[in-house]
Assembly symmetry: C2
Homo-oligomer: 526 residues x 2
Amino acid sequence: MSSQPVLIGGEWVSSIATKIFQASNPATGEVLPGVYPVSPWSEIERAIQSAASAAKVMRGWSGERFAKFLEAYAVRIEAKKAELVAQAHLETALPAEGRLAGNELPRTINQLKTAAVAARSASWCSPTIDSKANIRSQFGPIGPVVVFGPNNFPFAFNGISGGDFAAAIAAGNPVIAKGHPSHPGTTRIFAEEALQAAKQTEMPPGFVQLIYRTEHADGVKLVSHPLIGATGYTGGRNTGLTLKDAADKAGKPIYLELSSINPVVILPGALAERGDKIAEEFSASCLMGVGQFCTNPGLVLLLQGPATDRFREDVRQRFAAAPVGTLLGSGVSKSLEQGVNTLAAHGATVETGGKIGGGKGASFQNTLLRTSGALFLKEPHALQTETFGNSTLFVECQSITELVQVLDVLEGNLTGSVYSDTTGKDDSNYEKVAPALRHRVGRLLNDKMPTGVAVSPAMNHGGPFPATGHPAFTAVGIPASIHRFGMLQCYDSVRESRLPETLKNRNSGGIWRFVDGTWTQADVSI
Amino acid sequence: MSSQPVLIGGEWVSSIATKIFQASNPATGEVLPGVYPVSPWSEIERAIQSAASAAKVMRGWSGERFAKFLEAYAVRIEAKKAELVAQAHLETALPAEGRLAGNELPRTINQLKTAAVAARSASWCSPTIDSKANIRSQFGPIGPVVVFGPNNFPFAFNGISGGDFAAAIAAGNPVIAKGHPSHPGTTRIFAEEALQAAKQTEMPPGFVQLIYRTEHADGVKLVSHPLIGATGYTGGRNTGLTLKDAADKAGKPIYLELSSINPVVILPGALAERGDKIAEEFSASCLMGVGQFCTNPGLVLLLQGPATDRFREDVRQRFAAAPVGTLLGSGVSKSLEQGVNTLAAHGATVETGGKIGGGKGASFQNTLLRTSGALFLKEPHALQTETFGNSTLFVECQSITELVQVLDVLEGNLTGSVYSDTTGKDDSNYEKVAPALRHRVGRLLNDKMPTGVAVSPAMNHGGPFPATGHPAFTAVGIPASIHRFGMLQCYDSVRESRLPETLKNRNSGGIWRFVDGTWTQADVSI
């Protein structure tokens, strides 16, 4: 059976794959028509060589070139909106209007445009000048970047259109995208537009490339290849750790977003003041997108007592009454079942849900589990098992001291939220909770669920291991996310005419630079 | 035999070590009097626990606290200058006046003071504010840092006084220093002063700790321990890679400076214009500190021809005529011999030197080797063997194309230099050479040897693997070097009164912050 071509070296070429795969519709179980290749190593290697050639051609190019591509691509995506939404809806069962068309596509386009602005203004480069010593440095492109997209955001984190893609390009690198096998048709449409945008803006062949799937061993070879600069990976923990191990050994930076249960602490004053409102807010956040967000609130910490009993009962009823959504595939429902079983086997009781089914196609009942702080402290590892999907675990503690002990045994997470009352009753408890939580998470929230991840320069969508592989980097938020795909490049006594534009005495672009200890948009006076 | 105590939990405690070691004087081979412990795991674990307690106590502390410690420590070091210089001279054979007293100690004191300024001004934190979305972020302390100091800079890179130490402290972290076993007495003096400075500025016990030596397996456990935040390591490649593997698996950032041969390209115009001057400059740089610098020029790329023949002969004579210095120890001379033998076995010819001895104590003849571009391209791996010490390899190429091919197969290096003439004759060659070299090195120099590493905000003492473990970070240059020991911490809708001072609307410290896309020292207007 002949499969879809892959995008290598600036052209759609027939794959020489002997293995193929097809996606299916999670809502119906129906196998979808497109047949896609599992690319053999020789094909992947051609993509690597072509990316390396592109990187060589582009050495020294200004950010303007990359900005033009990103903008042209954004315009083309906008024009393909209907087709993209229809295909992604088929492949992911995510709601076409509210989610895909109304939210995720605009976010994707906005990310590409924001990355274009950052490339043009060199805001991500942190140009730093010591005029007296004539030493100058800035971030420059790290080399060809591999991007592995996840299953849960077919647009905004897609390997060839999402945040990692935009960041890698804005830094001036070619990208080899590895599509997620659950939505190859969506990825193909993006790749067609990316290729056209690349031609339109005269980028070299090998600038954007796409393979749909690889053997595991070839993924390992890809991320550790000498010609690769860095890798961005969003997905499951096991595959991520295998890739990380290979990349680390080769000394190749790899940025991973692996897993996070996003603790939410609800202090007693907040519960007394507005328990109903928080129950509503929490349930909506936890069930949104059928819980398939990296920042889904999967762990709630409370103090034992009648108010917590009422709150839990309120959430239980809301979970039981809410419609059960369709998951991204049967793989998700199976691993959700496994996760819930693990929690139950280690002392969590199922308050509602807990079984496969309940919705259209691939689904799992909205699930609320409960355990005590004491039990959690006995089995901290097992009770931190991520249940990716519409499931959450309440940990009810005897005292604030015990609750802080629970925080102290948490693994790294992307987010941590604290709800407190508005009149100061929770303030002394907040002061105990927040410092412990602060050190475990990338983003600390007050009175807010973690599911919204604004594309803001101040955002941190990152956190200590195993939430990510390095706590100094963020996957969302421009310009910071672009730094991941840059290397620090210093120019020591390099003659003025040979410096990159962004480091010359004259600041022709009026960009922000750190000159002799001061941030300025001015020229360097000599 | 009872050994020197170790510094754990704020006190000098007797080590329970059963293994001990002593340093020796490289100039005489004489074993020096101090007896030092190889700390067993239980001792190391106490240090980790104590550091973790210190980190907890210090959560939320302002940079001012750390600045005060760094300054107090700098003052105390200045007062101990004579003792430090005498002890380090005994243990390293580095010249007491010119190098230790005249250069390295002032540098060390300057680094501590500069780190204090950065801690106080929060310049390393990159506070970033999105006032509309009320999302704010900055870098905060990563947790207890382990610092492994190398043998070659007993002051400026010492685990308890050097650049990594200063950076880790400026970021607000406790440090567990692992002294280098070749200069334990020097390290002990520093640790005594560090402890006094810590007491004087009311830092918690466990803030600065010292162990002299560990079993290899315990070093691995140390850098991957759950309570450790990050590690800084400067030293040999094999040990470094073992530690890196362990830390990477545990998801703990580790910053390494491993090895670098620092290519220097000398273009024909420069050779014609000022070959004598360059020969003098090169010989001085290569033999300075008996070649024991991370940035020692170990690889010189030239075009074949009579001018290169003259240049080589000039350098050969200078090497043969120059006094042979004392190396840091017999380990260095042995590994230098091994390295030179490896180069010779793979097609390099020895032009001068090549044998152990020639100087006082541990020494190796000043050594110049030579090979061709064609041979280098056949054995690129072996011919990039680092010969740490007073040795260098000339690679003489047939054409600029071949020279660029050589650059294209180089591993990552800290530095790369290009010498070109002043009238433009080398310009077209420079344009071929510089982009290839740029991508392989952290710091690109023009007409300058790489051995000087200024403590400048624009410095990059880093580079692609295996020069370091990650090309986005620098070990020298403040504030950038401090970033290595920070984690990105975002505050999403956190109430104003609960924000760190540096992220509040009012900019009480007048620090530089990135507010709504603009760098400013002003308050956030609300």
